[in-house]
């Protein structure tokens, strides 16, 4: 059994290798079967490991592990660990991953690079599983960087354009800043604890005496959180995620909504006992999360591109998750990761279905009235919208409510921010729905030709829709008569046998707070729906009334322009200066070529005396002899 767990990550790798090497020779059908098949198989194996780990006495199942590297006192094993946290995440990755692979068969069928696409997507699943299941931080980092690479390749999938490769580069470099944080965090942890194996690290943390090492813990966790900011698109490193929408839509659903972007939150949960001991880091995390949630939601209010709206929505939801972590609610944060994976993947796939029906039109202002044309897409997206806005009884309701309550306990201002972001969420989601499915078709030609997608695309939509409705019941908080089952399930991973979190146990004004946020959310949703139901006229008149505000939001607070002028241009300028002045003139010119030139000049000067005429030399000899005589006999 322990060997077969290795098949879970290796199967997708195998798929990627076959598809990548044989490529087009395989034909589309074979590529589809292999691409989807390996992920489905991995899902089946993960399910088995999940069950086995659940029945193990300590809820852990470790595969056999190898020594990956050992130098000096650094020894890094390579092995997989299935505990409640990692096996649940692996189920999400392979399960939702398989659905999105299936969807991609329909969505990408016409593309020339069909095989290349599936090779990348399978490779992504492999790296994501390394990240999730790895038993040491370096192995986690392998996955961490690997998913970044796949994300880069898939964002730049349409490489013949100018914008897609540029977006990929932006994603990679922004993430590199974060990766650096992870690397420094690992160095600090290693320098202090002498190990990078996760289980050993957490055990050692448990034995830490309070006066030693809390400083280093704060430093290390802050650095790790910088990494999480990059991967999980938090302020100020969120800038890459909206651009990442240049990739194919299923990629946005899988990588940039359901799995990869939640890796940062996963990492923090993985090291939860470490973060628990760093209160400074936790407050930074809470505020960064809160700010991100609101900031991104406000930008989402005015975007016209359907995928951009969803992208900012993702950033905002990731902010929620991070805020929960900062409030000490690791289980709550992860619960939202779980529910979000369902409804946000569904929203993106639904958007993909709409985009395909509209012949690659992504502008909301050119859609409209598609309800009748795309019934399955419409109904499934409606359910997802209800889930994300937190409609009572849907999955988002439970996970979001838990986060808002924890935020309230941390600081009431965070609760206010959270509720404001929730209101924005309701508004822009209903705006999106109204503009897409209600009203008159604003592009009659495209509307004429629109039709529902093939079964490979609608089947995943339906499955995800069912999930979006029901998965919330895995974690009904106590205030609503539940047991917050998911929190209890995750407990062994998050506390590592040391700390006992009391999440899901609501006291005080829990019900009242939930009512306020829900009613406000519903109100803003209705407001958004009514404003856009009959078209864009109302919106345009409102934009005209607040031109400055509208322009700032539309241009995303001018953050990209600021980074270009404040960081990128100066770095390029510095490079140019160092090269043309530093290298060419100073180091090479004055340091190297000048002495060389002086030597040559000196040689040429001395060569003047080498005339080759005997009388000149005789004169020299005589003068020399006279000089010597004069010196000796003066």
């Amino acid at each position: 059994m322990h060997m077969t767990t290795w098949l879970i990550p290796l199967l997708p790798l195998f798929g990627a290798a076959i598809i990548g090497l044989l490529g087009r020779k395989l034909g589309r059908i074979a590529v589809s079967v292999i691409g989807v098949g390996v992920v489905l198989l991995a899902f089946a194996f993960t399910l088995r490991a999940f069950v086995l780990a659940g029945s193990a006495p300590d809820h852990r199942l470790a595969s056999c592990s190898f020594t990956w590297m050992s130098t000096g006192n650094l020894s890094v094993p390579m092995g997989l660990v299935f505990d409640p946290l990692s096996s649940l995440m692996a189920l999400v990755v392979t399960g939702i991953g398989a659905l999105i692979h299936l969807y991609s068969v329909g969505y990408m069928w016409e593309e020339e690079g069909f095989a290349r696409y599936f090779a990348y997507l399978n490779l992504f699943i492999f790296f994501m599983l390394c990240l999730v299941l790895g038993n040491s931080l370096p192995l986690l980092f392998v996955g961490w960087e690997g998913v970044g690479l796949c994300s880069y390749l898939l964002i730049g999938y349409y490489f013949e354009t100018d914008y897609a490769p540029a977006a990929g580069l932006k994603a990679f470099l922004t993430n590199r800043v974060g990766d650096l944080g992870v690397l420094i965090g690992m160095m600090a942890l290693f320098a202090h604890f002498g190990t990078l194996t996760i289980a050993e690290l957490l055990t050692k943390v448990g034995h830490l005496s309070p006066e030693v090492g809390f400083g280093i813990l704060s430093f290390a966790t802050l650095m790790l959180f910088v990494g999480a900011c990059g991967k999980s698109a938090q302020v100020p490193l969120y800038i890459w995620l909206p651009d990442a929408m240049a990739g194919p839509t299923p990629v946005s659903a899988l990588i940039h909504a359901a799995t990869m972007v939640t890796a940062g939150i996963f990492m923090v949960c993985r090291l939860a006992p470490l973060f628990q001991l760093a209160p400074i880091t936790l407050s930074v995390i809470a505020w960064v999360g809160g700010i991100t949630a609101l900031f991104a939601a406000t930008i989402g209010l005015v975007q016209r591109d359907i995928k951009k709206v969803l992208a900012y929505s993702t950033v905002s939801q990731l902010g929620y998750m991070v805020m929960a972590l900062g409030a000490g609610g690791f289980a709550a944060g992860f619960f939202h990761v779980f529910t979000h994976a369902w409804f946000k993947a569904l929203l993106f796939l639904g958007a993909g279905s709409v985009i395909m029906a509209m012949h690659h039109e992504q502008d909301l202002f050119r859609m409209g009235g598609l309800r009748a044309k795309l019934p399955i897409t419409f109904w499934t997206m409606l359910l997802a919208t209800l889930a994300i806005m937190g409609f009572p009884g849907f999955s988002g309701f439970f996970s979001k409510d838990e986060i808002l309550y924890l935020a309230y306990l941390r600081h009431p201002a965070l609760w206010v921010i959270g509720v404001a972001a929730a209101c924005c969420t309701s508004f822009y989601m209903w705006r999106l729905m109204a503009l897409t499915f209600w009203g008159e078709p604003r592009d009659p030609h495209a509307y004429e030709h629109a039709h529902e997608s093939p079964w490979t695309m609608t089947l995943p939509l339906v499955i995800l829709a069912v999930g979006s409705v029901v998965v919330g019941y895995l974690g009904v908080p106590e205030a609503f008569g539940g047991h917050f089952a998911i929190g209890r399930f995750l407990e062994p991973s998050l506390s590592f046998g040391q700390l006992h979190a009391h999440e899901g146990h609501h006291e005080g004004p829990a019900i009242l707070l939930a009512c306020i946020s829900t009613v406000l959310g519903l109100g803003f949703g209705l407001f958004g729906f009514l404003s856009y139901r009959s078209g864009t006229a109302l919106a345009e008149s409102r934009a005209a009334r607040f031109p400055t505000l509208h322009r700032i939001l539309l241009n995303k607070y001018y953050v990209d322009e600021g980074i270009e002028r404040g960081i990128l241009a100066p770095v390029r300028g510095l490079g140019r200066l160092l090269w043309q002045v530093g290298d060419v003139i100073i180091v090479d010119g004055i340091g190297v070529n000048l002495p060389a030139a002086l030597a040559r000049l000196g040689g040429e000067f001395l060569a003047l005396f080498q005339t080759g005429r005997v009388r000149n030399y005789t004169l020299g000899m005589v003068l020399g002899a006279l000089a010597i005589l004069w010196i000796f006999f003066k």
Binding site: G20, G23, T67, W68, M69, S70, T71, G72, N73, L74, P138, F141, V142, W144, E145, G146, L149, Y152, L153, G156, F159, E160, T161, D162, A164, P165, A166, G168, L169, F172, L173, R176, V177, D179, L180, L183, I184, M186, M187, A188, F190, A191, G194, H207, S209, V212, V571, R572, L574, G575, R576, L578, W579, G582, D583, V587, D588, G591, V592, A596
Partner: protein
């Protein structure tokens, strides 16, 4: 190793001699037989590589001792011996040399259009002299090979180079010669000091290393000057900032194979020199000068990356990236602890693989389009998918993607550096961001975007080209996924080196272990005396964990 088989025991000697013998044979062939030279040189280098593979298995990993020792008197009056042998550090670089050797020959078939006989003969001499540097155990012999190396490289650039080949070749020759002369002065200073203090006349590495304690008793100025002479001598070869300007010129003008050898092996001579001579012979002076050395290292790391970023010529970009990568390597060397040093040697190896690969990558498009300007390309992924894949793998290897070779070196260097110079290490990590920036930006501009008509004619890799890239790709993955065998080879020699540099290092390590045990059991009584001892042994060591890091 079986001592009853003398032929086997001298295997490194044979491996080194094969290219020389090959060169002599090639000299006998009439010069118009181009195909004979190409295939002959390839056969020689591949045979040589295969011959060197058994060394990997023969090497005894349980000891730091020099192995395959052959010692013959050569010039007895001066104490010069023909002394051959290798430890793990030399072995790894020696194998890299035989490995890169056949790739360099193979990539030349289409690139070299004239004077084939001379070209392949010089390549063979090059191989011979580089291997000679790694196997010798005698300073005199070392210097001989060190200088011999320059001659073939000079001709490779000066005859088969680009438009400014003469300038570049002379610059390379004179610049590195200046460094060698400083090194020679240092060698002679130690040699005569040895004669004066011990009465011995001996050039062997062993006796030079044994001079370290005596050098430590000399005047401060002597020690500093000695260290500086060695430092500059090797720093030019590395090259470290500000001695690096010969490198971009040499690389840009050299033919592809020249660049491959230059980046793959020649630059490693400098770092090898640091590890083999500066650290063990003058550890105290090095520690005194360390802040300056580290400052130059970090400047080179970041400066090289920044300058690489704005280059318009692909080859120059890769050349400047070497400056940056070797800066990282030197950071590992100057950490002077096991992680840092092992990481540094790994980085030498990895740089040899990934940067050689990148120069080959540049060579491919240069042969097809006769330009290396980034702006002339774009969208090549469409017509050259195989090339695109290999280019991407080499790029990722160069920027240290985990799972490929580059990461192993980077990560271990950083782990080592952080233990002793945390802030330097943190600053150095910016080089990682910049590294990704210039490489991926290069990739984007060359491979992505719209394809123009001229570039649409470019052909993807042919079988020969795939054949010489394949070993590089395989090794890049192999090292990245399974670095342990190489780490085992390096472990003991590095340990020995660390003790030479820092005799107390492992004592502290032991102490930290004892303390950690004590803390784990929770026996405060036991921890307290250990603490006390630590304070005595090492003044700055107060909290338990800092002892572990050392200062």
């Amino acid at each position: 190793m079986n001592p009853s088989l003398p032929w086997f025991q001298n295997l490194p000697l044979w491996v080194t001699a094969v290219p020389l013998i090959g060169a002599l044979v090639l000299l006998l062939v009439p010069k118009e037989k181009r195909r004979v030279f190409e295939l002959g040189a390839l056969a020689i280098t591949i045979f040589d590589f295969l011959l060197s593979v058994p060394l990997w298995f023969q090497y005894d990993r349980s000891t730091a001792a020099v192995q395959w020792v052959t010692k013959l008197d050569w010039i007895p009056s001066l104490g010069v011996k023909f002394s051959i042998g290798m430890d793990g550090i030399s072995l790894v670089l020696f194998l890299l040399t035989t490995f890169i050797g056949f790739i360099a020959v193979w990539c030349s078939f289409s690139a070299i259009g004239e004077r084939h006989k001379e070209y392949y003969v010089w390549l063979m001499v090059m191989q011979f002299s580089m291997m000679g540097v790694f196997i010798c155990q005698d300073m005199f012999l070392f210097y001989l090979f060190w200088e011999l190396m320059l001659v073939p490289m000079y001709f490779l650039i000066a005859i088969w180079g680009g438009p400014q080949k003469l300038y570049a070749a002379i610059k390379l020759f004179l610049y590195t010669l200046a460094g060698s002369v400083l090194m020679l002065v240092a060698i002679l200073a130690i040699y005569f000091l040895q004669a004066k203090t011990t009465g011995r006349y001996d050039f062997s590495f062993e006796s030079f290393h044994a001079m370290a304690p005596i050098i430590a008793t000399q005047s401060r100025n002597f020690q500093i000057l000695l260290a500086l002479a060695l430092f500059v001598g090797f720093a030019i070869k590395v090259p470290m900032f500000p001695f690096h300007t010969w490198l971009p010129d040499a690389h840009v003008q050299a033919p592809t194979a020249g660049s491959v050898i230059l980046a793959g092996i020649l630059l490693k001579m400098g770092t090898y020199g640091f590890v083999r001579f500066l650290l063990p012979i003058a550890p105290d002076a090095t520690k005194v000068l360390l802040p300056w050395f580290l400052a130059l290292t970090l400047i080179g790391l970041i400066y090289g990356a920044l300058v690489a970023m704005i280059q318009k010529d692909m080859k120059k970009l890769v050349a400047y990236s070497s400056v940056s990568h070797l800066g990282l390597c030197m950071l590992g060397v100057f950490s002077m602890n096991p992680n840092g040093l092992q990481g540094a040697i790994f980085q030498m190896l990895n740089h040899g693989i990934s940067t050689s690969g990148l120069f080959l990558i540049v060579g491919i498009v240069y042969e097809r389009r006769h330009t290396r300007m980034i702006a002339d390309f774009g969208g090549l992924s469409k017509t050259m998918p195989v090339y695109a894949t290999i280019f991407m793998i080499m790029t990722m290897s160069s920027i240290g993607l985990p799972g490929l070779n580059g990461f192993i070196g980077e990560a271990t260097i950083f782990m080592g550096a952080f233990q002793v110079h945390p802030w330097w290490a943190v600053v150095a990590t910016t080089g990682i961001i910049l590294g990704a920036a210039y490489m991926l930006w290069l990739y984007q501009r060359v491979m992505f975007g719209p394809l123009n008509e001229t570039n649409a004619q470019m052909k993807d890799l042919n079988a020969r080209e795939i054949a010489y890239f394949a070993p590089l790709v395989v090794v890049a993955f192999w090292i990245g996924l399974n670095p342990t065998p190489i780490m085992e080879i390096l472990a003991k020699p590095v340990e020995k080196l660390v003790i030479q540099v820092n005799p107390d290092f492992y004592k502290h390590e032991e102490l930290a272990k004892v303390q950690a045990e004590a803390a784990k059991v929770g026996m405060a009584a036991m921890a307290a005396p250990a603490h006390h001892e630590a304070a005595e042994a090492h003044e700055s060591a107060t909290p338990a964990a800092e002892v572990h890091g050392g200062h």
